[in-house]
Symmetry: none
Subunit: 449 residues, 2 copies
Amino acid sequence: MLVPPPSYHHPMSRITAGILTVGDELTSGDRVDTNSTWLSQRLLELGVETAFHLALPDDRAAIAASIRESAPRVSVLLITGGLGPTEDDLTREALADALGEELVTDEAALGLLRGRFEKRGLEMPRRNLQQVRRPRSAAMLGNPVGTAPGLAARAEGTPIYVMPGVPGEMKRMWADHVAPAVRELVNGSDRCLTAWIHTVSLAESKVGEIIEDLMQRGGPVVVGTLVSDYIVSVRVRAAGAAPEIEDLFVTTARTVEERLGVYAFGRDEDTLASVIVRRLAAQGATLVTAESCTGGLVGSMITDVPGASAVYLGGWVTYSNAFKAEFLDVSPETIAQHGAVSGLTADQMAIGALAQSGARYALAITGVAGPEGGSAAKPVGTVFIALAFIDEDGEPSSHVRHFVFVGDREMVRRRAAITALAMLQFHLANDGTVPEMLGEFRPRIETGA
Amino acid sequence: MLVPPPSYHHPMSRITAGILTVGDELTSGDRVDTNSTWLSQRLLELGVETAFHLALPDDRAAIAASIRESAPRVSVLLITGGLGPTEDDLTREALADALGEELVTDEAALGLLRGRFEKRGLEMPRRNLQQVRRPRSAAMLGNPVGTAPGLAARAEGTPIYVMPGVPGEMKRMWADHVAPAVRELVNGSDRCLTAWIHTVSLAESKVGEIIEDLMQRGGPVVVGTLVSDYIVSVRVRAAGAAPEIEDLFVTTARTVEERLGVYAFGRDEDTLASVIVRRLAAQGATLVTAESCTGGLVGSMITDVPGASAVYLGGWVTYSNAFKAEFLDVSPETIAQHGAVSGLTADQMAIGALAQSGARYALAITGVAGPEGGSAAKPVGTVFIALAFIDEDGEPSSHVRHFVFVGDREMVRRRAAITALAMLQFHLANDGTVPEMLGEFRPRIETGA
């Protein structure tokens, strides 16, 4: 028995889950298992604690043995992966083995799958037939975004849910089928409250210092930090049925937010881009982008937000010097004297984008992402960001900042894109001024408004 | 028993490892477990296959039970995490429980630790004392980059190595102590060869059908498929010391590639964008992009490739209709009659981008990413992609395709960007024609060259 013994329990929850992920690519180290992480987060939001994550290769006997032995030890068992149409997708077979049942074809699922292929004028590959087979006592879970239906079964009283390994399909199936079932299991008796407060441009250690006292363990409200893609997030979590817990939770979250001030840009599902789109829409303002080293990354982050078309007009990817001069009116003399990677070039790109488009805001980025192209004066990681805007008198104005970001090509590009968004968010949230940017985000030179 | 049953074995390797990672932050979903992935990669390089990854919370009884039960089932058990100086670091205690031994203080390790603190003029916190305790029969592994020494023990003949959870400390201890021990276990007899062959525009089931015979398990060469970000990759892996294994491995990989034909675009570290940049550079050709619904994603993928500036001039993000008309000369009549999401608009965007830039190739994308904006005629997921190029007579020509992609906003955008790159790759690899696009990638309408 690898799972926790029966004596195991945790004060936060009486309901426990086990998560089994299947695939050679996991145990070979070809792929990091992010499904387990995501599912544990969702489970905790419902008040369910995860007792174990187990990853196994595509081995029918190993999967079957693990299902058999682990199901009785948890309140619910979630499985992802191995539902595909190829030879090495064996989770369906293993579940049947664990239940001691044979596989049968689900006629309804077969009809749906055939329909999908017919609608697109395609013949269904024979191999897809295995995807509509299920252990006799199991039910199928619909998958509107892929060909692999999921499975719901029960072993010795423990509900088992099998979802595809493809994250997009797994998440959809979780939302449609598994979360409602788990919520019913929990029955609202144990609640877990979680709030996330997201910050940008502060190092994690700095955030930790600012809220050190709140991070002391022991009470019913637990505060921690997590860094993801250069965003430092503070997690406030509380569990229990007592009404005073909720007050304490709300007060703690508000205190965190107040202490972090302008650096705290959003909560929970907010992203920098979604907050910016919301703020611009409220102002009735429009935005354009002019990107060199980020090559379209900022535009892509903004247009990730549903409804971005209300505020984002479009942009230019001026990767070559010719594009900068021809389409954004960057002066060839500026490029010759100061270089394509310079504060003046960034500024002219942003002002040019404003002039071309009639937008109220423009973000421009130029830099050396590496690995080649660095020099003593402008090493790899050097990035200039300009935020141009139409001020209260109707005149164009701008902030320009000079950064030197640490990391490889991808890290420099992502940091540059996020920092550009941070500058705009600060300007929008802070009455048109950009506060001191700290940590990794501290600029070398500040000019402009 | 969650671990594979005793009958379990895999032809690729006689030596198997189990990996146990410890920490509340893993099972709560606050942190992704990257230690297991990294260790499995290193193990495979030494010819050792990983039988399972198991992550447990900081629970002494659960860890002890899992060590006891899993050690006999693998050739070596690796454990990371829970060696720190705080209350919730319990792996040391759990190992002692599993071995049925008491903890004793290791005098040599205590002396070293005291020395470290003295050298820095610091008093040693009392809590650090627990870090130099070990089960009576265990040995300590030095940690030159942290305060937590590791542990080496043996349970029923299986060697167990416990390393810190901090990745930098774990990697150093692996290199210094664990890798040499595992290498000795393997005795240099097993090698592991891996090749990846990447395909685009074929469904996984179709790929599985084409190489079904090669995917049968049992021989020394194992073939599997993996889907990541809409790219279906075939993994060919072989292990063993015999020289004929290498021949068989090379032949199998070549057969896979030949059967997948033009759909197989690259190997190993190749991406669609990196292959395109390489091909364009070899031709001395240039590329521009004109993106609507993808908002800069294609430009961002291309500029992810180091050296992209040799071939990529830049692009336009024409998110608004005004931008399409003003900067790419899309005719307002076309937009009025056919819509901004239409084959004609895509075609004019691509031709306009060619004309503006003088590039040889232009990719243009317009579509409905959702969740809003769909209609009966053009549901969410509708995307038109145009590839314009200067043909042999010096005239602009184009391929235009109409797709309906399944999925949410992010999935539609990513599929659209990858499909656009696939069209260009097919054109470059296939003498200027785009082969039949299949599966998810099958267009509704084909027009143009």
